[in-house]
Amino acid sequence: MPKLKFPSDLKLVKEASKKVLDLLSDLKLDSSALFDIRLCFEEAFINAVKYGNKHNMSLTVDVEVIKGNDMVELVVSDQGKGFDYKSQDDPTEQGNLAKTRGRGIFLIKNLMNEVTYENNGSSLRMKKRINK
């Protein structure tokens, strides 16, 4: 299973997602699945840099890419203390619609088929079902 490590630098988000998608290129995924996987990975990477590693360049964002028969699984981990992932506001509630934060995790939960937090929230495991 390929494992990647990136310094906590938001400028690397495109490079990181390109590397992840390159690892999936043999699966010949359709453009919609690629869009979802890229978006969810980039949102997770950005959260790991900003909120997990707090932009500390000496800390890494670790990425694991697992290719199953009918599933792509990504694990994005930071070196932070985790967070209270159970008490996230729903950005689609009327009172939250105009808020400018909180949509990254929401998108991940909606575009992926399975999302679980590990290590108190410092690791995010997300699975996308694929049709080969």
Binding site: L10, K11, V13, K14, S31, S32, F35, R38, L39, E42, E43, I46, P91, T92, L97, A98, K99, T100, R101, R103, G104, F106, L107, N110, L111
Partner: protein, 110 residues
């Protein structure tokens, strides 16, 4: 990302080309601030050439719309691909923004 704008009827039409994300959002915010400082109150954003948007891009659009609303202005969005439109639907931002299929429809709407 590349952003151009032109006057169409009483709208400033902003055409975005490329990706609206964490790294390009400051550029979009800058263009928008320039347009607002020139007194624009009706802004139409054309998404025909937008290939990708993330939560930062969505947040930037919300911020821009709120600034425009404070000036009693209005923002319309048009020309989204099905994929990008689906992100507005999932997040229910289609209830917050005025979204039209094409630029022509957006300009023609009352």
């Amino acid at each position: 990302m590349h952003v151009t704008h032109s006057k169409i009827k009483d709208f400033v039409a902003v055409a975005i080309e490329g990706e609206v994300d964490l790294n390009s959002s400051p550029q979009l915010r800058k263009v928008f601030t320039e347009i607002l400082s020139q007194g624009a109150s009706k802004i139409l954003i054309n998404f025909v050439k937008v290939s990708y948007i993330d939560s930062s891009g969505l947040a930037t659009l919300i911020e821009m719309m709120q600034r425009l609303k404070k000036e009693n202005g209005q923002m319309r969005l048009a020309g989204m691909s099905d994929k990008i439109k689906s992100l507005f639907e999932i997040t229910k931002l289609d209830k917050l923004f005025l979204i039209y299929r094409t630029e022509e429809e957006a300009l023609a709407a009352a």
